[in-house]
């Protein structure tokens, strides 16, 4: 049986702040024993793998770097229906990812969890580096705390 909750970190850890979602989820995975209902998944840049990761869950928590027009380091919690993707894709390659489109596909297929919560973290620097930039590193514990709080929420809560 799949754990009813998945906590998914997305992004590339070799591209600086792009990998913040993976860093947060890796940290939370260290305390996995405290969260038996949850599975912690580092999906990196796996794109459509997210479709399979969320299938059959009751809740999915997705943590990703997000350009939201906010100040660098800002974290926002939102649901897919609260945002519109402004990403332009060439559509030439499987390697272009749009998380929102994957979640739409999951919904259309009837495989999406009842509750999908996204945590977007505004990057300061997306560039070749294995580390987070200073503004994000300084707030890292806050990100971990915010996502951890989401795990405390009772399942079935479907309100923003």
């Amino acid at each position: 049986m799949r754990a009813p909750v998945c906590v998914v970190g997305l992004g590339n850890v070799l591209m600086g702040d792009e990998g913040v979602g993976v860093h947060v989820v890796r940290r939370l995975a260290e305390e996995a024993a405290d969260w038996p209902q949850a599975e912690f998944l580092d999906l990196g840049t796996g794109g459509l793998t997210l479709l399979h990761a969320v299938a059959g869950r009751r809740k999915a928590i997705v943590v990703d770097c997000a350009r939201m027009g906010a100040t660098a380091g800002a974290l926002r919690r939102f649901r897919a229906e609260e945002v519109r993707s402004t990403k332009m894709l060439l559509g030439a390659s499987l390697h272009e990812g749009d998380v929102l489109q994957v979640l739409t596909l999951a919904r259309r297929l009837g495989e999406a969890p009842a509750d999908v919560v996204l945590f977007g973290i505004e990057p300061a620097e997306v560039a070749f580096s294995g580390k987070l930039s200073e503004p994000l590193a300084a707030r890292f514990e806050e990100y971990v705390r915010r996502v951890r709080q989401e795990l405390v929420e009772p399942l079935g809560d479907n309100h923003a």
């Binding site: 840049t45 793998t49 399979h52 997000a66 060439l90 559509g91």
Partner: protein, 432 residues
């Protein structure tokens, strides 16, 4: 009949780049045809310098989320080559099986999520859920199997963690392999549905042919993705993978910041169609039958048929995976502890990524620290060939007008299944 077009597909979405298509023609005279693409992610080569020989495959798996197993495999083979490590037959078979998981995942994804919408006149796979629900579910089942193989053998659905110098950090149980075999057998009818769907639409692919050189691995024993020597449709001689630089002959072309490659001609192609054109005689029965369904034969030179070759190859790797599992189960899974010690040296690893032949070369110091890296990705090897296709395609199909020409050129790029700017995937949103 239109004789003038002005096409510029520009996308500014990624830090490190993406492909642009530029075409200008006036009164039937083609003035500009360019496939513009920036440099592939060479910075990963800098990233591994100074890193331990034990970590290279894990780091390079992050180059790409779709080819993460493939990059890990090329890297581990190069590391073991440098360290003089021989792996057991069991490890070899398990790695091939894991590698096949990625081929299934990537090919099904490409054909199902990118090519099928093109052929069915949709912008993405999402609307197909309403118009072709059963076919989409079939595609997703097959895709999910690829992911599952990677999860049980690689330890994760993507970016594998079990591949170590000398072997695996965790072996699957025989029960796991028996379960995998059942799943593989169960997916065969699904693949037939996918093949029939693509076959029913294949006449919508443009009738375009351009002879070129095809390059892929070849091996005397089987249709290979993992072993062998470098082969070409232009010569009977094969080249040892250690000499891959003499095949790729990278050079700088003024229109592109990505390096181009050439061997016996001005360009060559890699990928499913290249492998098919070189190794089709070794296809297993069901795969050969699938090729016949499409009328696909050696010597095919319509680049759009790369998608068809991907369908054939998906059947091939499923068939071969079942064979590999039978061989593994016959011998029984034996416990093995990967053993290797570092030494100074240099090694090369070469495997077939879903989208074509991939080369990794690393040098290490006596402590096993990486001192130099060279990664040559398949998409980089296809750039010059895409350009040459464009140059032949545009004058031939110009009269179809701007919109149709633009769609076909985008489809032509997609046919190569390129790995463009795959290193970042951040969300970009506005609140509504």
């Amino acid at each position: 009949m239109t004789k003038s077009v002005d096409i510029g597909v520009h996308h500014v979405t990624r830090v490190e780049g993406h492909g642009n298509i530029r075409v200008r023609a006036r009164d039937g005279v083609v003035e500009q045809v360019e496939w513009q693409v920036p440099e592939a992610p060479r910075f990963f080569e800098a990233m591994v310098r100074g890193q331990s020989w034990e970590d290279i495959q894990t780091i390079v798996s992050r180059i790409c989320g779709i080819c993460s197993v493939t990059h890990s495999m090329a890297a581990i083979k190069a590391v073991e080559d440098a360290m003089g490590v021989e792996v057991s037959e069991q490890t070899d078979r398990l790695r091939m099986l894991l590698h096949y998981g990625e081929q299934i995942e990537s090919h099904v994804l490409h054909v199902g999520y990118l090519v099928a919408p093109d052929l069915l006149g949709q912008k993405s796979v999402v609307p197909l859920v309403a118009s072709h629900p059963e076919q989409v579910k079939t595609i997703i089942r097959a895709h999910r199997l690829g992911n599952h193989i990677m999860e049980v053998l690689g330890g994760r659905m993507t970016h594998p963690v079990t591949i170590k110098p000398g072997g695996f950090s965790k072996l699957p149980t025989e029960e796991t392999l028996r379960d995998l075999k059942q799943r593989l057998e169960a997916v065969v009818p699904d693949l037939q549905v996918i093949a029939e769907l693509v076959a029913s639409l294949a006449d919508r692919l443009p009738k375009f042919q351009r002879e070129t050189e095809y390059v892929a691995l070849t091996h005397p024993d089987h249709y290979t993705f993992y072993h062998g020597r470098i082969a070409s449709t232009d010569t009977k001689e094969t080249v040892d993978v250690h000499e891959f630089e003499s095949v790729v002959n990278e050079y700088v072309h003024p229109q592109s910041t990505a390096k181009w490659t050439r061997w016996h001609r001005e360009s060559y192609a890699v990928g499913a169609l290249a492998r098919f054109n070189i190794n089709a005689g070794q296809l297993l029965p069901l795969a050969a039958k699938t090729a016949r369904l499409f009328g696909l034969q050696r010597g095919a030179c319509n680049p759009f048929l790369n998608n068809v070759a991907q369908v054939v190859e998906t059947v091939q790797v499923v068939e071969h995976s079942i064979q590999l599992i039978d061989e593994l189960l016959t011998r029984g899974i034996r416990p093995e502890t990967p053993r290797a010690t570092p030494r100074a040296g240099e090694g090369v690893g070469c495997v077939e990524a879903p989208r074509g032949i991939l080369f990794h070369r690393y040098a290490f110091d006596e402590n096993g620290r990486c001192t130099r890296a060279n990664i040559c990705i398949p998409t980089g090897q296809n750039h010059a060939n895409i350009q040459k296709d464009f140059e032949a395609f545009v004058p031939q199909f110009l009269e179809h007008g701007q919109d149709q020409l633009r769609l076909w050129m985008e489809m032509l790029v997609r046919a190569y299944d390129p790995c463009i700017s795959c290193s970042t995937h951040y969300l970009q949103v506005e609140f509504v």
